[in-house]
């Protein structure tokens, strides 16, 4: 069964540094999402992406965040200048259509020191 893959599984970065989290959505999917989960808290929506542009973003997704689909397979989340409070599990998801269920990757654990 096709899966969403995320790399790396764990990323440790110094505060203030840039970080890029990578995702390869399922190949025939058209809608892509990023969520995050701070330890002990709810999963929170960050951004959705369709047709090479952001469909919706949350208040969390400020100017420090950006997403990109640089080629036909990767979907990346960049945090320009990381803060301690960015430490969380980041999940990528994709769906075939907007009304279809979202399929999740294993997540990337981001630790900011």
């Amino acid at each position: 069964e096709p899966e969403v893959t995320q790399t790396p599984s764990h990323q440790v970065t110094q505060m203030g540094q840039e970080v890029i989290l990578r995702c390869v959505p399922i190949s025939n999917h058209l809608y892509f999402y990023w969520y995050r989960q701070i330890l002990g808290q709810k999963v929170e929506f960050l951004v959705s992406f369709y047709n090479n542009e952001i469909s919706e973003k949350s208040e969390i997704f400020d100017d420090q965040f950006s997403v990109e689909r640089p080629d036909g397979s990767n979907f990346t989340l960049k945090i320009r200048s990381t803060k301690l409070e960015d430490s969380a599990m980041y999940f990528c998801a994709s769906s075939a259509q907007g009304d279809q269920p979202q399929h999740f990757g294993d997540g990337t654990r981001l630790s900011i020191l």
């Binding site: 969403v4 999402y33 709810k42 999963v43 929506f45 469909s55 919706e56 949350s58 999740f104 990757g105």
Partner: protein, 108 residues
């Protein structure tokens, strides 16, 4: 504001006992509700969606619009059902709103 509430952080039952994981929602319009499960060291996996009205691994969930609930039920719990369960809701904008999740422990 759109909100999903899972009131139980932890639910512990014995093998063979019935289990009900509670989920309440607050949504404007017609939400679409799901149950996702996360087994230990595995990814979030779709278990059910309310429009499908199907039974997966013996689990069922019925949308009760009057009570704004979408509780997950199974008549006889198995040890392999031990996992974290989430019931996110989605609207027309497709983003999923999540509750805190319920950790189900099925004891032998």
């Amino acid at each position: 504001a759109q909100r999903v509430t899972q009131p139980e952080k932890l639910l512990s039952v014995f093998k063979g006992a019935p289990v009900e994981l509670k989920c309440n929602y607050s949504y404007s319009g017609s939400p679409e509700l799901f149950w996702y499960v996360q087994y230990s060291r595995q990814r979030l996996q779709l278990l059910l969606r309310h429009i499908s009205r199907e039974s997966i691994k013996g689990f069922t969930a019925d949308l009760n619009k009057g009570e704004t609930s979408f509780h997950l039920k199974k008549p006889f719990a198995q040890e392999e059902d031990s996992a974290m369960y989430y019931c996110p809701g989605g609207g027309n904008n497709r983003k999923l709103i999540w509750g805190l999740g319920t950790s189900l422990a099925v004891n032998p």
